[in-house]
């Protein structure tokens, strides 16, 4: 089986490609990227859209062809919360979002804190998943923060990173041990940075707006204290630290300073909602804007963008956290935090390119190459021999977000009815072509 993607604007930072080129796929693998100096003669350059009439040929003129996106922070909810999302629906949503590889967080029921759960997830993924799944295992048994989970065994079973996501490791000694121990298998420790005592069961960003709404606030410092702590522990231990869903200006500054100092093993991610909207989205007690860490202020949004632009923040993830409608249509205090993000990530991130915050190449780095590197998977690149995981985006395609039409079971998004530009039109996963409408 051969497939040729012709005339697309190919972007692959791993090979330094950012030009019109053709890609040849054979037996589910990338055969080669056919580069050229001039546009090929006879091709209809300006004809955009998908043309697969010619057997085995995709005409990608006017489209951007990039490695399939890698989302290293996703909640697939299975096992245990299948009413929120399943491996099947979650990976379906990923494909719609141009994402071909997801790392799924361990806060399922039971939690992924031992290799049998890891194996279950991978088996289910092989049967029902439509994209690649890389499980993240727990740092501690039962995510309780007391004893280390059997990380080596989970690593051998297929876990690519470890995290107690959703629950911070509150005990600094335990976090130190985890970072030290992770050197055994060379996988990152992903830290959900939140000082729970300081957050004091808050439900939104602390400030005037929280006072006006009468909602309990979480100060930015609840995140920053833990970012500072974990950077210090990474320096102490030499372990690999990846900071999850960075949301504040202070965090960005701490990470920037750490990288400047040369704490090489620190990486960081943020999510589209932290650079697209502020706490103002919570007004009207909008539970779809309830997320942890909470949406912050204007200055934080600007700082996150700056952090993305200067490389302080390495990765854009979705922190896709689907919930059932019944859980979100209720009292703000009682609604669970989380945003269903897989299907809006590309459109929201493309805004960064429009605004000049990132180049397309940088964007592909943050959504594909960098995360693949951090979790150590052979993804995020279209080098010959790699799996044919490809995301094709129509950069000019304008569309309105329709949460009701999501492939994900989670329709909890603050971006419903937003007008976005830049949409994945074809997602190829291991050579399997998914045409998206």
């Amino acid at each position: 089986m051969k497939l040729l993607i012709k005339n697309g604007h190919v972007i692959d930072p791993s090979q330094g490609i950012d030009e019109t080129a053709d890609i040849l796929i054979e037996d589910g693998k990338i055969k080669e990227v056919l580069r050229r100096k001039e546009p090929a003669g006879g091709m209809k350059e300006n004809e955009s859209g998908i043309k697969t009439q010619e057997r085995g040929v995709i005409n990608a003129a006017g489209l951007i062809v990039m490695p399939g996106l890698v989302d290293m922070h996703v909640h697939l909810r299975e096992p245990g919360f299948e009413y929120k999302e399943t491996i099947k629906t979650g990976t379906g949503a990923a494909i719609r979002g141009g994402i071909t590889s997801v790392c799924c967080m361990p806060n399922t029921d039971p939690v992924n804190d031992n290799s049998s759960i890891t194996q279950f997830i991978l088996k289910k993924a092989a049967m029902e998943g439509s994209c690649n799944i890389y499980p993240v295992g727990c740092i501690t048994k039962g995510q309780k923060g007391r004893e280390l989970a059997e990380m080596t065994m989970m690593y051998e079973a297929g876990c690519v990173a470890f995290s107690d996501d959703g629950r911070p490791v509150a005990d600094s000694l335990m976090m130190r041990r985890a970072l030290e121990y992770s050197r055994v298998f060379d996988a990152p420790i992903i830290s959900h940075c939140e000082d729970l005592m300081l957050a004091a069961r808050g439900v939104m960003n602390e400030g005037l707006l929280s006072a006006l709404l009468g909602l309990k606030g979480i100060p930015a410092q609840a995140e920053e204290i833990m970012v500072a702590r974990d950077i210090a522990l990474a320096e102490l231990t030499g372990g690999r630290l990846h900071l999850a869903h960075v949301s504040t200006k202070g965090s960005v500054e701490l990470i920037r300073a750490a990288k400047k100092r040369g704490v090489a093993a620190v990486s960081a991610e943020t999510c589209p909602h932290y650079f697209s909207i502020t706490e103002e989205a919570v007004r009207g007690y909008n539970t779809n804007a309830k997320v942890n860490p909470p949406l912050r202020g204007r200055a934080d949004v600007e700082a996150i963008k700056k952090g993305l632009a200067d490389g302080t923040i390495d990765v854009i993830v979705t922190d896709h956290a689907p919930h059932h409608m019944d859980e979100k249509v209720r009292e703000f205090d009682l609604a669970p935090p989380g945003i269903s993000g897989l299907e809006t990530s590309v459109g929201l991130s493309m805004k960064l390119v429009d605004e000049g915050v990132l180049t397309l190449k940088q964007l592909v780095g943050k959504m594909a190459l960098n995360p693949a590197g951090i979790v150590g998977i052979r993804k995020g690149s279209m080098k010959p021999g790699y799996d044919a995981d490809i995301c094709i985006i129509d950069p000019e395609r304008e569309y309105r977000v329709d949460a009701a039409g999501f492939s994900s079971k989670g329709r909890n998004t603050p971006f419903d009815k937003w007008d976005l530009k830049g949409m994945p039109v074809i997602t190829i996963c291991k050579g399997v072509v998914n045409e998206l409408s």
């Binding site: 006072a211 006006l212 709404l213 009468g214 007690y285 205090d333």
Partner: protein, 307 residues
């Protein structure tokens, strides 16, 4: 003349003119409360449901009596807090109550935004009787009515609100209402209970009672929730009273004709001394009567707003 919304969610949502209309209308209703027959047929045939997710005797009773004085039928629906987490959802409960034919749903709940949520989901008029630490609009309206009775005009008055501002929906509603009608507001209390960002509401912040009470026309003391003790907001009720208890000695710094309000129930010897609570500057009992008149006015005015 009518209110613009058929729900009373909070003072934040009201225009100054709306507040004035409620206060003026309440004056008419206060007359009725002095009659032998204290009941008028204005809302005959309407149904009012008190939906209370938090225990409250006085607010519920006040709304119940106000509704009965307007000849409505009143049903009290108390839901234990435990069933908030389990059991029927708030929306389902409210929809069921509406299906019974309720024209007004008066709701109290421990979560901020509950009244807003119900108003969005129901056709009945929703009145907020306190939602978490957000608002308690009728309390602020009755406080303003009481102030207006004593002082004639709200504009230009210096009002001190003393105590646990952070957790007080009464304080929040009063701050919004007083600011809208042109009063100067200052907050006094332990810094643990008055976060610095409150200043952005356009109010003065004071830690020192003597300094804060200087030349004020009105003092509102808030109830100290006993459960706050031991949570690190202040060391003990004794120390609280020492620093922020309202005593005759401290009141001497305020204007001579100062009046003292308290939303009740009072903790004597914690936030207020008995000689103040029972003193001639106290209008605390008057507030209770005024609460009835104000709640009647609110029910009457909201009934005139068409969906």
């Amino acid at each position: 003349m009518s209110l613009k919304s058929r729900d009373l969610i909070g003072i934040k949502e009201l225009e100054p003119g709306d507040i004035e209309l409620v206060l003026d209308t309440a004056a008419g209703f206060k007359d009725i409360l002095g009659r032998d027959i204290k009941k008028v047929p204005a809302l005959r045939g309407r149904t009012v449901v008190n939906l209370f997710y938090e225990p409250s005797t006085r607010t519920r009773t006040s709304f119940e009596l106000a509704a009965k004085r307007l000849s409505t039928d009143v049903i009290n629906f108390s839901v234990s807090t435990s069933s908030v987490v389990k059991g029927e959802t708030l929306r389902d409960t409210a929809m069921n109550i509406q299906a019974l034919g309720a024209d007004f749903i008066i709701v109290r709940h421990s979560c901020a935004g509950t009244a807003h949520f119900l108003a969005k989901n129901l056709n009945a008029s929703v009145i907020n009787a306190g939602d978490g630490t957000n608002e308690h609009p009728t309390q602020a309206l009755l406080d303003l009515f009481t102030i207006k009775e004593a002082k004639g005009d709200i504009r230009g008055l210096n009002v001190a609100i003393v105590g646990d501002i952070l957790h007080s929906r009464v304080a929040k509603s009063n701050i919004y209402a007083l600011k809208k009608l042109g009063a100067d507001v200052r907050l006094i209390g332990p810094p643990t209970l008055i976060p610095a960002y409150m200043k952005e509401l356009g109010v003065g912040l004071y830690t020192d009672m003597n300094e804060g009470l200087k030349d004020v026309d009105i003092i509102m003391t808030l109830r100290i929730q006993m459960e706050r003790q031991g949570k690190g907001f202040f060391p003990s009720t004794d120390e609280y009273f020492r620093n922020w208890g309202l005593t005759l000695e401290r009141i001497s710094r305020a204007k001579k004709d100062v009046i003292v309000l308290h939303p009740g129930p009072m903790n004597r010897g914690v936030e207020i001394s008995s000689d103040v609570a029972d003193g001639k500057m106290s209008v605390i009992i008057e507030q209770v009567t005024n609460g009835l008149a104000v709640r009647m006015a609110v029910l009457y005015l909201l009934s005139g707003v068409k969906a």
